[in-house]
Amino acid sequence: MRSLIFPSLILVLFLAGCDPVKKSQFNSAGEAPFKAPVWVSPFHEGFEKALFRTSLDVAERHLTGISIIKRTSDSSFHFTFANEIGMTYFDIEVFRNSYKPDYIFDPLNKKSFLKILQRDFSVMFFSVSEGKPTRKYIQKDSGEAVYMYLKQNLYAWIDTRQNTLTGLAGWSNYFDAVMVGFREYNNGFPTEIRILNPKIKLVLTFNLLGH
């Protein structure tokens, strides 16, 4: 039994190290009981498709263009990203735990990279509040409420004045830790979305062009 404690401790420390969120940016919300908020990803309810001006920075590449995200079923989304002159970079179907590439621009066609991208999208598309959050914090600079869901390896930022989801952070391992920001809501949908994967220095930005 004792022999299992050490590996378990290592695992807990490892998973804690994967967490992309710096607690120093939070104030404590105190120990008082709090009401668990109900929230869903902006892509969750009623979302069909959207057109975005898009940029991707990864591995010293800066790609820009236009992307479409389209819901293709209850459990899948399609992401197509092409440069301004129309040449496709990505054409990929994203599921909660997998992806199906239809076309990937050759220099980015790396399995490990695509797996991370799939995980990033999974957090952005499929996250919903499940169960009671373990902890509540207050974001220092913005005053947003931050809820931690330890079982799901997930944080959710809520703007309590507007009652909107403004950020998510999730991870399943050291490399796929991701932070997603939702900003400038218009008619219930963010017009600016930013995916940041700090471990592999990936930044993917979406500026809404239309639904």
């Binding site: 498709k49 057109l51 001006r53 800066h62 820009t64 236009i66 479409i68 389209k70 293709t72 399609h78 197509t80 092409a82 440069n83 301004e84 002159i85 129309g86 040449m87 496709t88 054409d91 179907e93 239809d102 076309y103 621009f105 050759d106 062009l209 239309g210």
Partner: protein
């Protein structure tokens, strides 16, 4: 019963005839050579072209379209300016071996040697308007078809480097002046981009400054 049959026949007849009517007629080798010659001659006298364009990216898997619009400028030799105005401002200048890209807030200088995709697209666009693409038998096999008021040149890439991205390039030349009306780039993914030119002005004075790279 007779009425129902006539109704079904009326519905099916156009379906049967449409492909026949739309089928482009391939030109004989002699006629194709003649058309290529005329396109090349017209290109030689086209020192500049100014036009508006509408670019439609067709996404085959999800059956969606992305539409962009803007202004196109070409000047001999090897000077191209793509000025996108919709859905957002975006500028690309091809000046010989250099590319300048201006986003709303970012400027980018790209060397054609270092960017494979832009290099191929630049070669295709310049080759299309300068009329050299049709005779590039090293990189493309070319078939020419006769349409109602256009000649259609179907270019299949032979070069493995181009085949990585594009499966076919189709150029539509106007029969009256032999300039490019439309360009379709078919990608290996099944998607394609259709660029249609309108309001063409040939040999109008375009200041060199339009193609300057800051």
């Amino acid at each position: 019963m007779k009425t129902a049959k006539s109704f079904i026949l009326a519905l099916l007849l156009p379906l049967g005839f449409t492909p026949l009517m739309a089928q482009p007629k391939p030109l004989s080798q002699t006629d194709a050579q003649e058309v290529k010659k005329r396109i090349s001659e017209a290109a030689k006298t086209s020192l500049s072209i100014e036009a508006q364009f509408t670019q439609t990216k067709e996404l085959s898997v999800i059956r969606e379209k992305i539409i962009s619009k803007g202004n196109f400028y070409f000047k001999k030799q090897k000077l191209l300016r793509w000025e996108y105005t919709y859905p957002f401002p975006y500028l690309i200048i091809f000046n010989n071996d250099k590319i300048y890209i201006k986003d709303e807030d970012k400027e980018n200088h790209v060397s054609l040697q270092s960017n494979k995709v832009f290099r191929e697209v630049n070669n295709i666009l310049i080759g299309a308007v300068e009329g050299t693409l049709l005779s590039d038998s090293k990189n493309f096999s070319c078939n020419i078809f006769d349409l109602h008021d256009q000649f259609q040149a179907s270019m299949i890439p032979l070069n493995p480097r181009i085949r990585e991205t594009l499966s076919e390039i189709v150029l539509f030349f106007n029969k009256s002046d032999y300039t490019v009306d439309k360009l379709i780039m078919r990608e290996v993914s099944g998607d394609y981009t259709n660029i249609e030119f309108s309001g063409k002005k040939i040999n109008q004075n375009i200041p060199d400054a339009k193609f300057n790279i800051p």
